[in-house]
């Protein structure tokens, strides 16, 4: 049952992803990405990471999509921008993507250790993740916060208008 749900969500996910990569209209593209992110959150839930799904929705779908929409708004040349796809690069892009896919699939399906792994029965929620953060991964946590701070400051510095 769960497996069928996984497969179904994944199919929808991949459909949205393909639309993201190919749509001409930039705004449509952003909304397709929103779809991808939401479906990913659903997948997270089905994979036993409900906390992460929440984070995904809040940060990604809420934050990143909004940011992207703003970006599209601020950088359009004319309303309802048509983004022409570069005809010269479609071929090589497809080739590279397919090649990469082959390599990855080869890695996945030919590694014998993966066949024997089983599902762990732990229930992971916010508590467990939080405990990890504040014990073994404390340094990473702190560094991450510094990183976020610097990203913010950097972004502000980059786009501020300097007075003449």
């Amino acid at each position: 049952m769960l497996f069928a749900g996984l497969i179904g969500t994944s199919a929808a996910l991949l459909l949205c992803a393909v639309m993201v990569a190919t749509t001409r209209n930039l705004v449509h593209c952003v909304f397709w990405l929103a779809g991808v992110l939401l479906l990913t959150a659903a997948l997270f839930v089905m994979l036993g990471a409900p906390f992460l799904a929440g984070i995904q929705v809040v940060l990604y779908t809420g934050g990143v999509i909004t940011l992207m929409l703003f970006g599209v708004m601020l950088t359009q040349r004319k309303p309802d921008t048509e983004v022409p796809m570069d005809s010269q690069r479609k071929g090589p892009a497809a080739v590279t993507a397919l090649a990469m896919l082959c390599v990855l699939l080869a890695a996945i399906w030919e590694t014998p250790e993966l066949a024997g792994m089983t599902v762990s029965t732990q229930q992971i929620g916010a508590t467990e993740v939080g405990q990890i953060f504040l014990s073994t991964q404390l340094l990473t946590f702190e560094v991450l916060s510094v990183l976020l701070l610097s990203a913010m400051i950097g972004a502000i510095v980059l786009v501020r208008k300097t007075d003449p």
Partner: protein
């Protein structure tokens, strides 16, 4: 078997992202495709978390999400800067280092 199918799904997602990154002309389009790739990575991590040490795996995923967000922020700031100078955000406009 189930693991491998799930991993394959993440792999396909990743490759769709690659296609998008290489072929899109608009800078924001590239960023969006980049998001797909990041998403595939996160999905991969979560899948492995289910089959191994779940807590650490999910913590790792959280880090990845945070990093991706930071990267998107800075990326969009650069796109805005690009727009300011060129009044358009096609990637070929940022090709001054050519020759």
């Amino acid at each position: 078997m189930e693991l491998q199918i799930l991993l394959s799904i993440a792999a396909i997602l990743f490759c769709v992202g690659i296609y998008g990154v290489i072929s899109r002309r608009n800078a924001i389009g590239v960023l969006l495709s980049l998001e797909l790739m990041a998403n595939a990575v996160n999905l991969n991590l979560v899948i492995f978390a289910r089959y191994g040490d779940g807590a650490v795996g999910q913590a790792f995923t959280l880090f990845a999400i945070a990093l991706t967000v930071a990267e998107v922020v800075v990326g969009l700031a650069l796109v805005v800067l690009l727009y300011r100078t060129r009044h358009d955000v096609l990637t070929e406009l940022a090709s001054d280092l050519k020759r």
